[in-house]
Amino acid sequence: MSLGPYASFIVTSYALVAAVVLLLIVWIVADYRRQQARLKEIEASGITRRSGRSAADIR
């Protein structure tokens, strides 16, 4: 597969899209872990929801 004289423009476009999508995925996964850790930390200090269910329990 030859990309012709403008190969650098094509490759840069695809690489940039891949990088930004990957960044979004990493950010969302990291944010989820951060929120879960904060919830467990607060609950460990004795603060619970009125329902009595764990706030970190999402099933």
């Binding site: 597969m1 030859s2 990309l3 012709g4 004289p5 403008y6 190969a7 423009f9 094509i10 840069t12 476009s13 695809y14 940039l16 899209v17 930004v20 999508v21 960044l23 979004l24 995925i25 969302i28 996964v29 944010d31 989820y32 929120q35 879960q36 904060r38 919830l39 607060i42 609950e43 200090s45 603060i47 929801r49 269910r53 706030a55 970190a56 999402i58 099933r59």
Partner: protein, 261 residues
């Protein structure tokens, strides 16, 4: 089950979290498969008789451009949900969608620019289409800043909802800018009256990529909504914690005063 009943059922964040925990792995799997198929078809697509291999940028530029507008549309519906129906998850949905929409808009702008340089001879032109998409990107950033600036979530939700609905005026302007004004950007070639002008060799990979990116958005959006629900739970538990500490210190001070008397 009717749509209203489904929406009412999903108004419960706990039920929403449980449902998305089940469907997210499937959504992510289907998205990955469709992206792989789309990328393969894009790589195998023939060169355009005028643009050569540069046409391959279209397969990532167009889905991102579509999504930049679609995400604002989703946020506008969510804004109505906040202002009219006061749906508990409406603001969560809008807030979670904004950074994803901003990312898609950024990619549409940059890939368009990288496509424009070899085709038009310039990275940027202040024409109606490019400028209106840049305004959309700035509006995404403005909304994100607004949510961060206002500490009370319900006040931030109403202000953001109004701003989102005002900003929705820009969506038809972006869509029809190529018809209303004389722009460097080409007119619509897929979603247009009279059908697509694209050859099937380009249309199929483009449609597969568009569906794959749309599913990518749905997957990321649901995951980000879950994070936002958890963030709000953290906030309410922290407020309970703070009020308990305040109550305990007040009670302690009261006991000391009684002891001193």
């Amino acid at each position: 089950m009717t749509l209203t009943a489904t929406l009412t059922d999903l108004a419960n964040p706990t039920r929403f979290l449980a449902l998305t925990a089940r469907i997210l792995p499937w959504l992510a799997g289907v998205t990955a498969i469709l992206l792989a198929i789309g990328l393969y078809q894009s790589a195998m697509a023939p060169d355009d008789y005028q643009q050569g291999a540069t046409v391959k940028i279209m397969f990532i530029h167009v889905p991102n451009a579509w999504l930049s507008m679609f995400v604002w549309g989703v946020m506008s519906v969510a804004a109505l949900g906040t202002l009219v129906w006061r749906h508990p998850l409406a603001d969560v949905a809008a807030k979670a969608a904004a950074p994803i929409g901003a990312a898609f808009t950024f990619l549409a702008l940059v890939t368009g620019s990288l496509w424009g340089r070899p085709m038009w001879g310039t990275y940027w032109e202040w024409d109606a289409r490019l400028t209106s998409v840049l305004i959309l990107f700035l509006m995404y950033l403005g909304l994100m800043a607004l949510w961060r600036a206002v500490e009370d979530p319900s006040r931030a939700a109403r202000a953001a909802a109004v701003l989102t609905l005002v900003g929705a005026i820009n969506i038809p302007i972006i869509k029809f800018s190529v018809d209303w004004w004389n722009t460097l950007h080409q007119p619509a070639s897929v979603l247009r009256m009279g059908g697509s002008t694209l050859d099937k060799a380009f249309l199929w990979p483009l449609l597969v990529m568009a569906i794959a990116f749309s599913l990518l958005f749905v997957t990321l959006h649901l995951a980000a909504m879950r994070n936002e629900i958890l963030r709000r739970r953290v906030r309410s538990l922290q407020m309970m914690q703070a009020s308990r500490v305040a109550f305990a210190s007040e009670a302690g001070a009261g006991a000391k005063e009684i002891g001193a008397a």
